[in-house]
């Protein structure tokens, strides 16, 4: 039996830069994970639907637009509505330090700032899902 860690990397919101998300996606692939990359301008419903259909172990959101406090609660809500409340969610991008506790309070497992070593994210995923 072959089990692979499956990760959804999504880019919600309206900003058009996905370089960071792609770097993370490639790093996770190089760490042996199967990464579903859905690209730019994902709505909360799109993110949650992809997470559901692809049966992912973890969801990564890249948000650079500053809209994280608006987007993240809606995404978590859509996930919960689909019975995916237990799926760990991490957020990367430009997130002011002040917002980090609030995001974690909402249910985000971890927040990674710009310039985070991708190895840190790989380790985080292994630890979080215990594989």
């Amino acid at each position: 039996m072959e089990r692979k860690i499956r990760v959804l990397i999504a880019k919600p919101g309206l900003d058009g830069h996905d370089r960071g998300a792609k770097v993370v996606a490639r790093a996770l692939r190089d760490a042996g994970m199967e990464v579903i990359y859905t690209g730019l301008r994902q709505t909360p419903v799109m993110v949650a639907e992809a997470a559901l259909q692809e049966d992912v172990d973890v969801v990564g959101l890249s948000i650079l637009s500053g809209a994280h406090m608006a987007l993240v609660p809606r995404i978590l809500d859509e996930l919960r509505q689909r019975g995916l409340g237990a799926v760990p969610v991490f957020v990367g991008g430009i997130i002011p330090a002040d917002d980090v506790p609030a995001l974690k309070e909402l249910g985000v497992t971890e927040v990674f700032g710009p310039g985070t070593n991708t190895q840190t994210i790989v380790s985080f995923i292994h630890q979080t899902i215990g594989a």
């Binding site: 039996m1 072959e2 089990r3 692979k4 499956r6 996606a25 490639r26 996770l28 692939r29 190089d30 760490a31 042996g32 994970m33 199967e34 990464v35 579903i36 990359y37 859905t38 690209g39 301008r41 709505t43 419903v45 799109m46 639907e49 992809a50 559901l52 259909q53 692809e54 049966d55 689909r82 019975g83 995916l84």
Partner: protein
């Protein structure tokens, strides 16, 4: 199994989890397939293959939307290659199917090839069976875009659509790979580009060279009377501009009608069933032989071949011989 009943009742999350089990070859997945098998054989499985970047995913997305006007549910299985170095994969087909997200009647599943050659994963056949069993009447399977040897999709699909694009120099490539022989419909995508006409002409003349009566040349194991002609159409689409989709849907519908009226639907089902039994027979046999022969004798045989004391055919036969005694 609770999950199984939930999936049958239309619970998409239960289905997603079952698909993972099937994909991973987990015992629960095997069990689910065994239970559900009688329900399979209903879906029209459409394989979409062709060169990398030809626009397969984009076309599948648009095609799905078009087909959904005729069927209540539709599933897409999109295969991308695994990295031979890390075993991981970047699955990006879904990226091109964005506008399907709002349609609850469409279920998209990405799969990594996991080292399996031939354009689909080892478990793609089983994933398709499961989707068939839970009642998707149409299943689109996008293969890895490899430009060669994606012919394996013909073993699970009833209708194979070969997608090419202009200016890629792939026409000859496709021919070489035997892809054209398995294509029931050929599509030149990116027809918005001026070079598309040239590609169509190249394919037409290449195809004309393959056969003049459609690609289904009579085969020794098929009764002649069911070999009615299917003229493989060469269509043009511009997926990003929604062009040519109606014609493609019509061709797919016509092909299904052809399969049914010519007796080929039954024939393909028979060939698929045979392929499935063969696959499992090989798998079981190999396991059995490995267990019975044992690591040590196997290694000794390899060693003997290496030293040129025995040829490999004889070595294999000698390993088998004690197992074949009554």
């Amino acid at each position: 199994m609770q999950l199984l009943e939930a999936a049958l009742a239309g619970d998409r999350r239960a289905l997603a989890r079952l698909l993972s089990w099937v994909e991973n070859g987990a015992p629960e997945g095997r069990e689910a397939l065994a239970t559900l098998f009688p329900r399979t054989g209903q879906a029209h499985v459409i394989g979409i293959t062709g060169s990398p970047g030809a626009g397969k995913s984009t076309l599948v997305g648009k095609l799905a939307r078009e087909l959904r006007q005729r069927v209540p549910r539709l599933a897409i299985v999109a295969v991308d290659p695994s990295s031979p170095f890390s075993g991981g994969a970047l699955l990006g087909d879904r990226l091109r199917m964005q506008d399907l997200a709002a349609d609850a009647g469409i279920f998209i599943r990405s799969m990594a090839s996991r080292g399996h050659p031939g354009g689909i994963a080892y478990a793609t056949r089983d994933v398709v069976l499961l989707l068939d069993a839970v009642g998707f009447p149409v299943i689109l399977v996008e293969t890895v875009g490899a430009g060669q040897a994606q012919v394996e999709v013909a073993r699970i699909a009833h209708t194979v659509v070969l997608v090419e694009a202009p200016g890629m120099g792939d026409e000859v490539q496709a021919l070489k790979a035997g892809l054209m022989e398995i294509a029931d419909i050929i599509v030149v995508n990116k027809a918005d580009r001026p070079e598309a006409r040239q590609t169509v002409r190249a394919l037409q003349s290449a195809y004309f060279g393959v056969t003049t009566t459609g690609h289904h040349g009579p085969r020794a194991d098929e009764p002649l009377e069911v070999v009615a002609g299917w003229e493989t159409p060469i269509l043009q689409t511009a997926a990003i501009e929604n062009q040519g989709l109606t014609e493609l849907v019509e061709a797919i519908t016509a092909h299904r009608q052809y399969l049914e009226s010519s007796g080929r639907w039954e024939l393909r089902r028979r060939l698929h069933a045979r392929a499935e039994v063969e696959t499992w027979l090989q798998r079981h046999l190999l396991l059995l032989v490995e267990q019975r022969v044992g690591e040590e004798r196997f290694a000794a045989a390899v060693e003997a071949v290496l030293r040129r004391e025995k040829d490999p055919a004889t070595a294999a036969q000698e390993l088998l011989a004690p197992l074949l005694k009554p």
